[in-house]
């Protein structure tokens, strides 16, 4: 192994300065986020204020957002209907997504304390799918474990998190990505990619060199 190289701050700063990125570039990154995450009115305002063309029409953002809102309300049935209205192929061609929607529906039953409905639904809809794939099965088991605990406060984090808003967001995000993909648009928010690349890069470089890191 060659010795760890040291990159001095001045040298680093100079390179930072030389990176070629313009306000327009960053504006487009922002727009990408607003569109994908469905901030429709913000995207509209932004296209005005920053004078950039949005990559999609704002209506498509809206229908995606309606679906997302339904999911975040916990109205999974409504969300499924809307997705199918938009494009029935999305769920047909994406069994994992469909399973996760069903799973979310089960979670909502449990949340509402409709235990009988939950059991009925799990048996009729989810169990057969659980047999299809071990991954589905373990997810089903995890969800069913919610029933074993009186309140999620006593449940292990791995299980109680199913009841958190984060779980709804996760499902909503998955649906959003699937729709975007069906519209042949980027589904990954570029900003997230950027952060991932930063994390990946900083970690690798840390092994090889001393250099000024972010947030240090």
């Amino acid at each position: 192994m060659p010795p760890k190289q040291t990159i001095r701050k001045e040298e680093w700063d100079r390179r930072l300065h030389e990176v070629q990125v313009t306000k327009d570039d960053l504006n487009r990154l922002i727009m990408d986020y607003l569109v994908i995450e469905g901030y429709k009115s913000a995207a509209e305002e932004f296209s005005q204020e920053a004078d950039i063309t949005p990559p999609v029409d704002f209506e498509s953002i809206e229908s995606r957002m309606n679906i997302r809102e339904a999911l975040q309300r916990g109205d999974i049935e409504d969300a499924i209907t809307r997705v199918n209205d938009l494009n029935p192929e999305i769920l047909d061609t994406n069994p994992a997504l469909y399973f996760h929607l069903q799973q979310q529906k089960l979670i909502e039953y449990i949340r509402q304390g409709r235990i009988a409905d939950a059991l009925q639904f799990a048996q009729s809809e989810l169990a057969p799918r659980g047999e299809e794939s071990p991954e589905f099965l373990s997810e089903l088991e995890r969800t069913m474990a919610l029933l074993a605990f009186e309140s999620s406060a006593t449940a292990p984090a791995g299980i109680s998190e199913l009841l958190s808003p984060g779980q709804r967001m996760k499902t909503a995000g998955e649906v959003n990505a699937a729709i975007l993909e069906s519209l042949s648009q980027g589904k990954e928010v570029k900003l997230v990619g950027l952060l991932k690349l930063l994390g990946w890069g900083e970690q690798l470089l840390e092994e090889k060199a001393e250099y000024p890191q972010m947030g240090v």
């Binding site: 060659p2 990159i7 100079r14 390179r15 930072l16 300065h17 030389e18 990176v19 070629q20 990125v21 313009t22 306000k23 570039d25 960053l26 990154l29 922002i30 986020y33 607003l34 901030y39 429709k40 009115s41 913000a42 305002e45 932004f46 005005q48 204020e49 920053a50 975040q72 916990g74 949340r111 509402q112 309140s151 999620s152 406060a153 109680s160 009841l163 958190s164 808003p165 984060g166 709804r168 996760k170 990954e188 570029k190 900003l191 997230v192 990619g193 950027l194 952060l195 991932k196 690349l197 930063l198 994390g199 990946w200 890069g201 900083e202 690798l204 470089l205 090889k208 972010m214 947030g215």
Partner: protein, 769 residues
């Protein structure tokens, strides 16, 4: 350097900014790495003298000993003639024949002179070379300094066949650094390449050119003369292999003039000990990510005992690649792969006359792969090219064996582009599968739950969202996109609301929701103040862009007085100079109108403007007084232009009814006459120079830069940053900082050939629409 005449003073970087080179300046800014066009011996230009020092330093990295050309000539006594011939080549067309000038390896030890002399004396006939070479092959690292091509082949070589960078290398994010010997192509123009005005900006003023704020000439001019020129790795040009080396080849091999053919001459080697190998001039840059070349077996001779592969720089040339340590080869006689071994490992089919063997190295996995006639044979070897430079290398053993290499001279038999594309995509999806680490919360200074101490680990969906929202909001606020911020915040609130009912069910989710629910109102409360502040800031910025400097100054004075007072009122001066520019523009506009009217009325052609101007001025006897009264007219620091200004103002005055212009200019120059700061003088110089032009907006060059819209935008952005700074906020949005940090990180990794970072193409992934 500081006391240059007005026009050139704004071009302190010297020759590089001369118009002929401005494209390369542009390249630098696009790819962050200057093209390092061979420094030309342009001695006549006085500015090139300081510059050459820099070249020395810089070129030391990318070009070895070349450095400042004049110095090189002077300091290589052993072979002055040879050297100057080399240089002649350099300044002329690409000097393929003299690889030593491009050899990126720097002298590792002294005492190279004698070898060079030997080389000159060497006959190019096989026996003599043979002795020489066999001696050479056993030598250590220290004497590896390649000598210029004095063998017969190179002297009589036709001009080298140059070729562009093979297309599969376009998948490397560092592609712009990778160059064949052919003249550098113009920079790849990304769609968002800075508009032309930027490329015209003299280098000195572009120190901030790449800022997303497009902030220009704001760094204090006093820094300009010493503005750090790109050095070291930034200038790195990574030469791709383009030909077999005339030096690093066994004497029994001849290299064709174009550097592509290797032919074995003389008696065949016997036993298992000897062979004749060659390697390329340049090593394979790890920044390629994947490198690939193909070899056509022109003749397999008697046995087809040919090895195709790679070797380190010092591997014996009397051995087949794969026999020695730091060499790897695929052998045609038995189809075995060899990695520093006596007996090979079964790998692929044998090959012979007419076959095309491809040879690739994948730096992301440090493995090699071969192809035969366009078919992939699969990965082979481990840890190849780790921590050492490696070169394409070929070994032959028998009379009549001949091969011809394709380093990208012509299309490859194997679809390497697709292969690399797939690899690239793999790497990229691997990166995208990296979970976001919680250290990001710290980076974005997002406060975490007090109960939970900073946990290392992946971010949750919600946390990710927080981070991104923070980035987005910070960015929008920074640039004052007020309405967007409002719309965004409103939608964020709505987004949070539906989670409320969830709160009632379980305590855990109740807590979660509480946190979520508490946050938005808080943000809103501060949000109002923030919004208010942002609106004020936006108003100021817009006023500058609209040319309403008075309003901008008044508003700034009212809310951000410190900004105007900072640095002894530097910002205020800049604003006032802008106001002066606005006045001049106004006057020029009026005058233009007037001229048109006059010309139209009199039915005459306006003719030379200068004549008209002189007449006008002659007609006004006050002018002289005004000039004399200008306190600085005799100095050379730019205030002589103030005199012109005053005159010009007067002149315009005769045409336009406005008295304000002169008065303003006079006041301004009087107020600051005791300010000896170089940047102040510089600002005055630049500002007042514009009055020498009839129509500064169309004058072009520096003048237009000073008065143009972009200058206004730049000033507005500078003011914006200054205000933010005065509030203790970072002068750049965090998002931008993150982007830059990532870019530097990744390109550094790419240069080091680590982890396939070269396939993380940020421009493509994040910037191209």
């Amino acid at each position: 350097m500081t006391t240059r005449p007005t026009r050139s003073a704004s071009i302190p970087i010297g020759p590089r900014s001369s118009s002929s080179l401005s494209p390369s300046r542009n390249i630098e800014s696009v790819i962050s790495i200057p093209f390092a066009a061979p420094p030309r011996p342009r001695i006549s230009n006085a500015q090139s003298i300081p510059r050459s020092n820099v070249d020395d330093h810089r070129v030391g990295v990318s070009y070895g000993t070349r450095g400042s050309s004049s110095t090189t000539i002077a300091t290589s006594p052993p072979r002055p003639t040879a050297r100057s011939m080399t240089l002649g080549n350099v300044s002329g067309r690409s000097s393929f024949r003299t690889p030593s000038t491009y050899e990126p390896r720097i002298v590792r030890a002294g005492g190279e002179g004698p070898r060079s002399v030997d080389a000159v004396c060497l006959p190019s006939t096989a026996p003599a070379r043979s002795r020489r070479q066999s001696g050479a092959s056993g030598r250590g690292t220290s004497t590896q300094r390649p000598i210029s091509g004095f063998g017969a082949p190179s002297l009589h070589a036709p001009p080298p066949v140059s070729f562009p960078r093979p297309t599969y290398l376009d998948y490397s994010a560092l592609r712009h650094m990778l160059q064949t010997d052919s003249p550098p192509a113009l920079p790849p123009s990304r769609k968002t390449e800075p508009p032309s005005h930027e490329s015209q900006v003299p280098s000195a003023l572009t120190s901030s050119l790449t800022d997303s704020d497009e902030e220009s000439n704001v760094s204090p001019p006093r820094e300009l003369p010493s503005a750090p020129l790109p050095t070291l790795s930034q200038n790195k040009i990574l030469r791709l292999p383009t030909r077999w080396s005339d030096q690093f080849r066994h004497a029994l091999l001849s290299v064709s003039g174009d550097g592509r053919d290797l032919t074995y001459h003389g008696a065949s080697c016997s036993g298992d000990r000897d062979a004749a190998a060659a390697r390329t001039v340049h090593p394979i840059p790890a920044a390629c990510g994947i490198y690939y070349y193909e070899v056509e077996i022109i003749s397999k001779g008697q046995k087809g005992h040919i090895s195709i592969g790679f070797a380190g720089r010092d591997v014996k040339l009397s051995r087949l690649p794969g026999w020695e340590i730091n060499s790897w080869g695929y052998h045609g006689d038995d189809g075995c792969s060899f990695a520093a071994e006596k007996t090979g490992t079964r790998y692929g089919p044998t090959f012979g006359t007419g076959d095309i063997i491809g040879c690739g190295i994948d730096f992301t996995s440090h493995r090699a792969f071969f192809t035969k006639n366009g078919t992939l044979l699969g990965p082979v070897f481990d840890n190849i090219g780790k921590d050492i430079d490696i070169y394409p290398s070929i070994g032959l053993r028998h009379a009549g064996e001949a091969v011809r290499v394709n380093f990208g001279h012509e299309p490859f038999k194997f679809d390497i582009d697709f292969y690399v594309l797939q690899k690239r995509n793999q790497i990229w999806s691997r990166i995208l599968n990296t979970p976001l680490d919680s250290s990001l919360l710290k980076t974005c200074s997002i406060e975490q739950d007090n109960s939970a101490p900073m946990t290392k680990g992946p971010l949750s969906e919600a946390q990710t969202k927080d981070v991104i929202n923070k980035l987005v909001l910070g960015y929008l606020e920074h640039h004052g996109y007020v309405k967007t911020v409002r719309a965004f915040q409103k939608q964020r609130e709505v987004e949070m609301r539906p989670t409320q009912p969830v709160a009632t069910l379980t305590s855990t989710s109740a807590e979660d929701t509480d946190v979520d629910m508490v946050a938005p109102p808080e943000e809103c409360d501060t949000g109002d103040a923030v919004a208010c502040d942002m609106e004020r800031r936006t108003k100021i910025v817009k006023a500058v862009i609209a040319g309403d400097i008075d309003m901008a100054i008044a508003e700034t004075k009212a809310h951000h007085l410190a900004v105007l007072e900072a640095e002894e009122g530097l910002m205020l001066l800049k604003l006032r100079c802008r106001k002066f520019v606005e006045l001049i523009l106004e006057a020029a506009e009026l005058k233009k109108k007037m001229m048109r009217t006059v010309a139209g009325a009199a039915g005459t052609i306006p003719g030379s403007h200068d004549d008209g101007v002189i007449e006008e001025m002659d007609g006004m006897d006050v002018d002289d007084e005004v000039v004399v009264s200008s306190p600085h007219s005799a100095t050379t620091n730019g205030f002589n232009n103030a005199a012109i200004l005053v005159r010009g103002g007067r002149r315009r005055n005769s045409v336009s009814p406005s008295d304000g212009v002169i008065a303003y200019g006079q006041t301004l120059s009087n107020e600051y006459k005791n300010d000896a700061r170089p940047e102040v003088k510089q600002i005055f110089k630049r500002t007042f120079a514009i009055v020498a032009w009839e129509d500064p907006l169309t004058a072009g060059g520096v003048v237009t830069e000073v008065v143009g819209h972009d200058a206004k935008v730049a000033l507005a952005n500078e003011l914006n940053r200054a205000i933010l700074k005065s509030q203790g906020r970072p002068p750049s949005p965090l998002l931008e900082t993150i982007y830059r940090q990532t870019a530097v990180c990744v390109s550094q990794l790419g240069l080091m050939g680590v982890g396939g970072a070269t396939f993380a193409d940020m421009e493509k992934e994040f910037l191209d629409a």
